[in-house]
């Protein structure tokens, strides 16, 4: 599989995000934020936005969206911020801090033991 982004012409990535190289410092998206489509794609929508809405009919993590679209994570976050601002997707952020939450750690252990 070709590496996403790296070998693409930089102007392609520039165009996709209209020149924004990364989302703002207050970007709410983590690698494992689960994204869910709240609407169907509409005519005239940017093709990457259409692809995201189709991918996220079921909860899908930011990193899976990036991998499926073969785009760098930061570019994917810019696109997701657009869709979130437009109310076209919702975001389920990781509950934190999982590291020090004994209940979550126990749930992880139970889940792993049941594998």
């Amino acid at each position: 599989m070709s590496r996403p982004g790296r070998d693409d012409a930089p102007d392609r990535l520039y165009t996709i995000t209209q020149g924004r190289s990364r989302s703002g410092p207050d970007t709410p998206f983590d690698l494992v934020t689960l994204v869910v489509a709240e609407s169907d794609p509409v005519t005239g929508m940017q093709s990457e936005h259409v692809a995201i809405l189709e991918l996220t009919r079921f909860p899908t993590s930011v990193v899976e969206v990036a991998a499926e679209l073969r785009l760098p994570v930061s570019i994917t976050k810019v696109l997701l911020c657009d869709l979130l601002a437009a109310g076209r997707v919702s975001a389920r952020h990781p509950r934190r801090p999982a590291l020090t939450d004994p209940d979550i750690l126990e749930q992880v252990l139970v889940g792993l033991r049941n594998l």
């Binding site: 599989m1 983590d30 690698l31 899976e64 389920r92 020090t100 749930q107 252990l109 889940g111």
Partner: protein, 208 residues
């Protein structure tokens, strides 16, 4: 552009709402992807992140000054733990440039597995040093390449490993062994942090 998605895409359940991260760190060819594949419910996927000059304010680029961008590729798999919790397992190269992106990619991670090839122990020193620097809890797993079992005290000594850090053998090709490795890590995290008196040693977690 063709956005055809991978054939075997398995969607998560509609109630999934909490993503969790564990990172497998190790040198080239040590078996990171093999371990991810052995426990993942999806075929491991690959993506990348780029740190550009625009990120200079938030990333530590002191050691890459003069470079306009740093790109790291990583692969990952997924384990559905229950109706709500989904664990993502990332295979991360231990190379130096990767650590500049650690906080952006892996803040909030439950912990790390340092995968070691006992024939090339030196490769692991840097990763262990960085994990300690980032305050990320970790265990060390020696991948069994068919040689003698080596996860003994000599390995602990060679890595100058804290006595409290679990050191185990694993066979990255085996689902059972991979599962045991992850359970060992999470149990270690639970022992270390669920005890309120141990929280003085809380890792520095930057939420981005």
């Amino acid at each position: 552009m063709d956005f055809a998605t991978s054939d075997a895409r398995t969607p998560l359940g509609a109630s999934a709402d909490n993503g969790l991260k564990i990172v497998v760190v190790g040198g080239f060819g040590v078996g990171k992807t093999t371990l991810v594949r052995s426990v993942s419910e999806i075929r491991p996927l690959n993506t990348e992140e780029t740190m550009t000059q625009a990120g200079a304010g938030v990333d530590d680029i002191r050691q890459v000054r003069g470079k306009s961008a740093t790109t790291v590729a990583f692969d990952f798999g997924r384990i559905t733990l229950d109706a709500r919790n989904v664990l993502y397992l990332f295979g991360a190269p231990g190379q130096e440039r990767f650590w500049f992106l650690w906080d952006r990619l892996f803040s909030g991670t439950l912990g790390a597995v340092v995968l070691v090839d006992t024939r090339r122990i030196d490769d692991s020193w840097y990763a262990i040093d960085r994990l300690e620097h980032h305050g990320t809890p970790f265990i060390v797993a020696c991948n069994d390449f068919g040689g003698a079992v080596r996860a003994g005290e000599d390995v602990r000594e060679a890595l100058d490993l804290d006595p409290q850090v679990p050191l185990i053998d694993c066979d990255a090709r085996s689902r059972e062994s991979g599962k045991h490795t992850l359970i060992t890590l999470v149990q270690h995290v639970k022992n270390r942090y669920a005890d309120p008196s141990a929280r003085a040693g809380l890792p520095r977690q930057e939420y981005v």
